[in-house]
Symmetry: C2
Subunit: 207 residues, 2 copies
């Protein structure tokens, strides 16, 4: 469509939209070609297989999903403030990429090979950042600023509460006829509530 965008890019972009919306198996290369405005064979000419095309897109999305999650800024603000920001940043990323949770859950459950590939790709890469976060958290717990909780449980809690509203959006849109503005408002509220819930859940008990 754009002058500098060649058809290869066009296909990639259309494939991305379709895969995000329906997942791997419900999108055909014919669908992609139709949306991109080219012949179906061209999709295979550029990407050879549908799996190839999907991999590129999925890898990118998954990395994005984890990236923000595996960074932790080094500013001298207190731990809880930085944690709060981290949760919000992750939620904001999802607002911009609402179908990511569906794609990840769907394809990671369904496809064993995809799982292996991803785990290999990610595990070591982010171990360092995880360890640093772990260290900081457990230190705060030692100081008595935070109730005891395993680092993994905390991370899982955050992710789960962050993603669930995006599973519910189709329901709210199509069944309860929320419009874009209402959805945007709802998401902001939900983000606030997640932060609130996590922060409250971390308050030490004895206090």
């Amino acid at each position: 469509m754009n002058k500098d965008n060649n058809m290869e890019q066009q296909i990639l972009q259309c494939a991305e939209e379709l895969f995000l919306e329906k997942g791997f198996s419900l999108v055909s290369t014919t669908d992609i070609a139709k949306k991109a405005g080219c012949n179906q064979a061209l999709v295979h000419y550029y990407f050879r297989t549908k799996e190839n095309l999907f991999q590129q897109i999925f890898q990118a999305k998954f990395t994005k999903f984890l990236y923000i999650f595996t960074t932790f800024d080094d500013s001298d603000e207190p731990f809880t403030t930085r944690l709060r920001k981290k949760i919000e940043a992750h939620f904001n990323l999802l607002i911009e990429n609402r179908q990511i949770p569906f794609l990840i859950v769907n394809e990671l459950i369904l496809n064993e090979e995809r799982r292996s590939a991803l785990v290999k790709n990610i595990y070591n890469k982010n171990l360092e950042i995880y360890r640093r976060f772990d260290h900081e958290l457990q230190e705060e717990i030692q100081k008595g600023n935070i109730r005891p909780i395993s680092t993994l449980d905390l991370l899982i809690n955050i992710v789960s509460m962050n993603i669930i509203i995006f599973f519910m959006l189709p329901l709210l849109e199509s069944q309860f006829n929320f419009d874009d503005e209402e959805i945007a408002e709802l998401l902001q509220q939900r983000k606030h509530e997640v932060v609130e819930t996590i922060m409250c859940s971390l308050r030490p008990k004895n206090k």
Copy 2:
């Protein structure tokens, strides 16, 4: 297989297992027939269409998923005790039906018609129980026993934290080689942590 189990039941049961494992579109009526040990046409003889067969199974699973969630016992135990039990009961249900979260998220996102059918079916049916829970919760908040939170947010928090581990199970099993015992242990720990997190997050702030 059993004497009293006729082939119709056999097909239904095999279909259930396959649909739970792979979702609607990745299971063919041929797959079902093969697993049930009959001719593919027989699947259509009993259920006419694949959609029909799926609907029966999906409806049942979804009702199950919501049933325990829309009951609230009337014993004279304190609210928080009953809430704790409710969370555990929901989690226990998921332990027995591990693929339910995947099936629901997957098919509810992908199929608009299925959404409509379900919402109609469920909305009014469970409104009464929801209202009662809502009333009790807000009363506790008024009394200052619980920090202010919307009923819906609380329910969403519980569901999200309860289901997420079941999205992660395939990863733990196939990539980190957890055996059944380890998984069982992990699930118990996770259940405990969810209850803990929710309960901690509900403590009033001023106290």
